[in-house]
């Protein structure tokens, strides 16, 4: 990019109040329609969760950390709870692990649907797909309400297992929802991936080569969209992922279309995982009671979980009190946002491409702000 004198460069700010920017302000330096650099200005929803968690014991701590990504609550609560269990040195019963995997995969579907809809909206105000994805979340929310009691922030995971048992009555309803969802996935593919205008808007836009993806630190589906097969569920199987066979999905091209295709295929994969988890879920206890006032042994634990947006890690350090001494949360969106900000230096970006690229990374700014 030739160094433009500051006179010609126009800095546009997509403030927090902008149809396409969530809780973030994105500064874009453009010269006409060409984008010179993108600066995400985050921190608008910084609630200081890491400081708050130092004031909560391990059972209370699930509530604030779950609000980091409201769409994908279970995976984040899982990483917090697994870190606590690792320090306490206890292992939840088998049935609880299966229930956890089911709820985590449902959260992955909910989160990918949300990212999917926003990507459709970003490509050109294509309201139908965004509202379809909102409609297709309703059946899953009803199921979650039946199991955990609430639609979004479940607070269902507790160190030592799950809060309540998986009601066997809704097994058929669950499987029926999955069948319905697979027809809807077919409808998405016909209406969206075979739409010529969307292909012209998303294909080879924002190309991320594999070595750039690793160097800049892309996370989750964006990494796998460039052909790098890094998935914590396979590299370091937690809960019962080693007993479930599923495929790690990668796409070689690395453009916005590939990233969305990875998310789409991961939804298909999640449906398979849920089916297997429901079939061979053992009976037995669903929780090993751990009193919240129990003193944590001195020690530390770093738990990694594959959330819908990428790999999230919780590093919990305890000095013997009932409350953890320090909790460090490794947020995937902060890494994705850095990749987005380096995009104009890698490929040629037009102003109309910025929303397409930004929402192909599926950012969730509350996750970056903590």
């Amino acid at each position: 990019m030739s160094e433009k004198s500051s006179k010609q460069v126009m800095r546009i700010s997509w403030g927090p109040q902008h149809p396409m920017s969530g809780q973030v302000r994105i500064l874009i330096d453009t010269d006409g329609e060409r984008v010179l650099n993108i600066i995400p200005d985050i921190g608008f929803t910084h609630r200081g969760i890491e400081k708050i968690l130092e004031n909560r014991n391990i059972v209370q701590g699930v509530v604030p950390i779950e609000r980091m990504v409201m769409v994908d609550t279970a995976n984040i609560a899982l990483s917090y709870v697994r870190a606590a269990e690792e320090i306490l040195g206890i292992e939840p019963p088998k049935r609880a692990q299966y229930i956890r995997v089911i709820i985590c995969e449902v959260c992955r579907i909910l989160s990918h649907l949300y990212g999917f809809g926003l990507a459709a909206e970003a490509c050109g105000g294509y309201p139908a797909v965004f509202l379809w994805s909102t409609a297709d979340r309703e059946p899953f929310l009803d199921l979650m309400e039946r199991i955990t009691g609430t639609r979004w922030s479940y607070s269902f995971f507790v160190p030592g297992g799950v809060y309540a048992d998986f009601p066997d009555k809704i097994k058929e309803k669950f499987l029926a929802t999955l069948e319905y969802f697979e027809e809807r996935l077919e409808a998405y593919r016909r209406a969206w991936f075979e739409n010529k205008i969307f292909e012209s808007r998303a294909k080879d836009v924002g190309i991320l080569k594999p070595e750039d993806a690793i160097r800049l630190g892309a996370a989750g589906p964006n990494l796998r969209g460039s052909g790098v097969a890094l998935d914590v569920r396979k590299d370091e199987p937690y809960e019962v992922y080693d007993e479930i066979d599923f495929r790690v999905i990668t796409q070689p091209e690395g453009d916005s279309y590939a990233r969305l295709m990875v998310r789409y295929l991961e939804m298909v994969e999640s449906v398979k995982i849920i089916r297997q988890a429901i079939e061979n879920m053992p009976s037995g206890p669903y929780r090993k009671f751990v009193s919240p006032l129990k003193r944590l042994p001195k020690g530390e634990a770093y738990s990694r979980v594959e959330t819908a947006r990428g790999e999230l890690g919780v590093h919990m350090i305890s000095d013997g009190g009932t409350k953890p001494y320090r909790i460090k949360i490794t947020s995937p969106t902060l890494r994705n946002l850095y990749v987005v900000s380096q995009m104009p230096k890698i490929t040629e970006v037009l102003l109309a491409d910025v929303p397409v690229i930004l929402y192909s990374f599926d950012p969730w700014y509350l996750d970056a702000d903590r």
């Binding site: 403030g15 109040q17 809780q23 609630r47 200081g48 969760i49 708050i52 609000r67 949300y114």
Partner: protein
């Protein structure tokens, strides 16, 4: 000007005033346009309310991109100090008869982040008309909040 004409004119003016209030109140009630503005973590629930099952557009509530045309500033979810300065700026840019609505437990009294150093309450920043408690509140609660706002809009013409 005889006394009779004056009273007749006053009656005519009063009738016109009542009719004007009724019609404009009805118009404003059924066309509340919130701006595309999400401040916190209750936004997936607000999308469900805009979604097909609960569909707030039945009441004529259509989110519009620009703040100039909006007449409801909806604070959805937690309000941090950095976002609060923007909310203040937006509130001043909105065209008159404007209303404000706070959705979620956080704008009411900081919700689950009661001891956070960067979370503020909504009424410290802008005068709020309707509060909807819940974390996140159920979609029916949000729609009830909008209906309370509609009643308030209609009476307060």
């Amino acid at each position: 000007m005889t006394k009779k004409n004056q009273t007749r004119r006053l009656i005519v003016w009063d009738v016109f005033n009542q009719v004007y209030k009724k019609i404009i109140g009805w118009g404003r009630k059924y066309s509340l346009w919130p701006a595309h503005f999400i401040t916190g973590c209750c936004c997936p629930e607000f999308m469900q309310v805009a979604g097909p099952r609960y569909d707030m557009e039945r009441f004529g509530i259509l989110p519009l991109p620009s703040i100039r045309q909006a007449d409801v500033l909806v604070i959805i979810g937690v309000l941090t100090r950095k976002m609060a300065s923007r909310v203040k700026m937006l509130w001043e840019q909105m065209a008159e008869p404007k209303y404000a609505m706070a959705i979620g437990a956080c704008p009411i009294d900081k919700g689950p982040f009661y001891d956070s150093y960067s979370v503020v309450r909504a009424d410290e920043i802008i005068p709020v008309d309707v509060y909807v408690p819940g974390c996140p509140p159920r979609p029916e609660a949000m729609i009830q909040g909008f209906m309370i706002l509609q009643k308030k809009v209609e009476e307060g013409v």
